[in-house]
Symmetry: C2
Subunit: 476 residues, 2 copies
């Protein structure tokens, strides 16, 4: 056994006894691989547990409960807010080996899966039945279902299909003391008792650890079309979003790139946008083969009401791919420009989108922080990217000012601080800005019920220092 | 002040001081009107409060909290499980005067309403914007939004649109001590903290009292078509449901009537079903004007795979109306036959529908209780009607045996005891059959957080006698 973990030798021995040498990692180099996630932050865990069965998950949690050692559940580590980092030490409990798809039942429109199943792997399997699971985070090729449920993470599809929580029927979880609890069920309706399934989804591993999920499925549409609309100003584009959303079926996706984003992508994709356009909307419609052309034309007409420079319907799969390539080129480009950029995922009501974008420009000018915005316009869910380096002490005060101004603006507009990334550690000192004080108190009490010893993913969601919560800016 | 309420004169005076004489009813005759609901049971409240503002709701709850007097929130009293009855005395708090529609925001696809708004009134108003709120209980013309949220009640639309809880963005509630709490928000995405909105929906007024709801809206479809499929056996009809649900878009509604129901309705509507048919499926599809015919034909083709006697697509609004009239004639017919009939709303996975129906027939034969089944087949949500009189002591043992056998069967098949009616008092002694013991314990602890004095709708959801919970039949 390597000696460089600071857990007691006895605890380490017990962990190895439960999981074997290959399932209980305590060496520095092995732990290092689990010290990072997509937030860019680093917290070295004291050990890494890699259970292969739910019984092993229960055993590990029970052991940690007895020893009062933190347990941090982890999927693929693709989260953006540090949710899977061992910020208070303890062990990382990776669920990647629990990756079986147990049941796919087309008539019941459900799949029963373990949490380590990768989102894209599930989709590939479901497609054989003409079905899919709507949640589509941009990390779908690597992120796990367990992570998707822990963070209630989402992607463009949420516009048409709603939040991730709507696509879960039941869960089996391990509680803080190692016992197993089943909530929800296999049916699309059910109103017996309080809805603990919904309480657990999005709880970021702080209440229990999912070991099995029963997912509700949707039928795959026969056909899709991609549209691109270029506007002279961001305000026109934002008003076009409100126009589209105020009537008729929502498209599958309705994304936008602000002028700063368009300018950046143009260097690699010169034809991303009409030459006279500064702001871009990308949309996808889906439906039956018979009606898809009609749908696309209908959306094009709605996108045309705010005097666009151009509205294009892609006429081939290749043309669609090219349009989306621009959207997907953006994140890597931003990461190259500012490897430690801050990517906020605020949300405002769609009618407030134009005001938010104007406000973000003002914040950028006032603080001197370069900001690029893009994202899920149809949901009002905007990825506000601060192209800066939070580890540079000289940048710190500017970043703090920009973020505080952004969050204040979002809340003034009736929005929320996170649409799909979650709180983790990056927003824990701000949630009291958004939440009603009574709601925050009740949430802390619920955490206490589920996890009286505070071993489940400690340090996440709630502010470290409760006295912080007395300091709330005034919102109308 | 009438002297026939047994509340203390001081409490009665304080109630009148808060609400005026017309808002605080204490006379026997006045209270009698609030002693009943659609469950057919009777519990006379000690007083009735009719607040007109949320401040008055808070004041009344605060007063009751100080005096430790039960508060039973009530919408229109259309619930089926006694949820709005004052089973432990105290006051009925009617929310019918809080009936303002505060905001309708088409671009944000939301409406902000008070709980006393009648479902159908909201729909009429929304239709002016081409929008609707999907939950459609059969009582829509009289039931209130507050009641819909308290019970998470639903109707046929849930097949296509999902549960009621999916159509709520945020709530403002009065807590047990009279304080006000805001949860959720105005956006279709949001993952900051635990989802208390979902916890409150379906909590039957036992955790808090809704005084404002922000509802998510959907666009009204342009066109609809009704289909009717007659089968020789119930088993064929149930297999046809599984066939329809295993691929493609779900219809808006997919309802069934079992042979007993068909026979009953035939006496008034001779052409309800093809003469050679015994079991009936009714379906509704919706979509754009261009594609509706194609959709209807596609569904007709799917309904035809299990050798029906006949599949008919209604060719006019009048023909559609006639088809649905048969479905809607059923409930009043059953009530005439057995005014105190028991209407259970169990749910099983769609693939288990045929097994459930066979089992129900066997239970009817074994116990001698006449049973008629119909309901939301596409969700596996079956209204199992026991045509009997539970107030007749001679019937009681048979009824108990039939219900226990039904519930055991439903749970063996992976189902739930209630799809849309809730627990109230009629199922409170059975929820431990369904719920995991850990989940039940946690639910009791959550109730304790929200309502430590136990004044909010006491006697609902949880068994009166906790020792009952040790007696659970064995399910595989």
């Amino acid at each position: 056994m390597p000696a460089d973990s600071d857990l007691s030798p006895r605890f380490q021995q017990e962990l190895v006894a439960l999981l074997g040498q290959e399932g209980a990692l305590t060496g520095q180099a092995q732990r290092e691989a689990y010290a990072w996630d997509n937030s860019g932050m680093r917290h070295l865990p004291q050990a890494v547990a890699l259970p292969s069965t739910r019984a092993q998950v229960a055993d590990v949690v029970r052991l940690c409960h007895q020893a009062s050692i933190p347990v941090v559940p982890r999927g693929a580590g693709t989260g953006c807010v540090g949710g899977s980092l061992a910020v208070q030490g303890g062990i990382i409990l990776s669920l990647q080996r629990l990756n079986r798809m147990l049941t796919i039942a087309p008539a019941d429109r459900l799949a029963v899966v373990e949490p380590g199943v990768v989102n894209a792997d599930l989709q590939a399997r479901l497609a054989q039945h003409g079905l899919f699971w709507p949640p589509d985070p941009s990390s779908a090729r690597s992120c796990t279902i367990g992570g998707n449920l822990a963070m209630c993470s989402a992607g463009p599809n949420a516009l048409r299909y709603g939040a991730t929580r709507q696509w879960v029927l039941g869960l089996t979880v391990i509680l803080a003391d190692g016992s197993t609890m089943r909530v929800g069920g296999k049916t699309t309706k059910g109103v017996v008792g309080y809805d603990l399934t919904q309480l657990l989804i999005g709880s970021e591993g702080t209440l229990a650890i999912v070991v099995e999920a029963t997912l509700k499925l949707a039928p795959l549409a026969q056909a899709r079309r991609t549209l691109r609309a270029s506007y002279r100003t961001m305000e026109q584009a934002a008003l076009a979003v409100a126009e589209v959303m105020s009537q008729g079926d929502p498209p599958l996706a309705l994304e936008f790139l602000d002028p700063a984003a368009v300018t950046l992508v143009r260097s690699q994709h010169p034809d991303i946008c009409h030459p006279d356009g500064q702001a871009l909307l990308l949309a996808e419609v889906e439906g039956s083969a018979d009606e898809i052309e009609h749908q696309a034309k209908n959306l094009a007409e709605r996108l045309s009401r705010l005097d666009p420079v151009e509205v294009v319907i892609a006429t081939s799969a290749e043309a669609s791919k090219k349009i989306w390539a621009a959207r997907y080129a953006l994140s890597p480009t931003l990461t190259r420009m500012a490897p430690k950029r801050i990517n906020e995922d605020v949300v405002v009501p769609v009618s407030a989108l134009a005001t938010l974008i104007t406000g973000v420009t003002a914040i950028s000018q006032e603080t001197g922080v370069q900001i690029v915005s893009f994202g899920h316009a149809g949901n009002g869910n905007i990825h506000v990217n601060l192209l800066t380096d939070p580890t540079n002490p000289a940048q710190k005060p500017k970043i703090t000012r920009a973020l505080e101004q952004l969050f204040a603006l979002v809340l003034e507009l009736g929005g929320t601080l996170s649409g799909e990334h979650g709180v983790g550690i990056t927003k824990r000192d701000f949630i009291h800005w958004e939440l009603d004080p009574c709601a925050l108190t009740i949430q802390r009490q619920i955490k206490q019920i589920f996890d009286p010893k505070g071993i489940l993913n400690p340090g996440k969601i709630f502010a470290r220092d409760e006295t912080l919560e007395t300091n709330v800016p005034h919102f109308p």
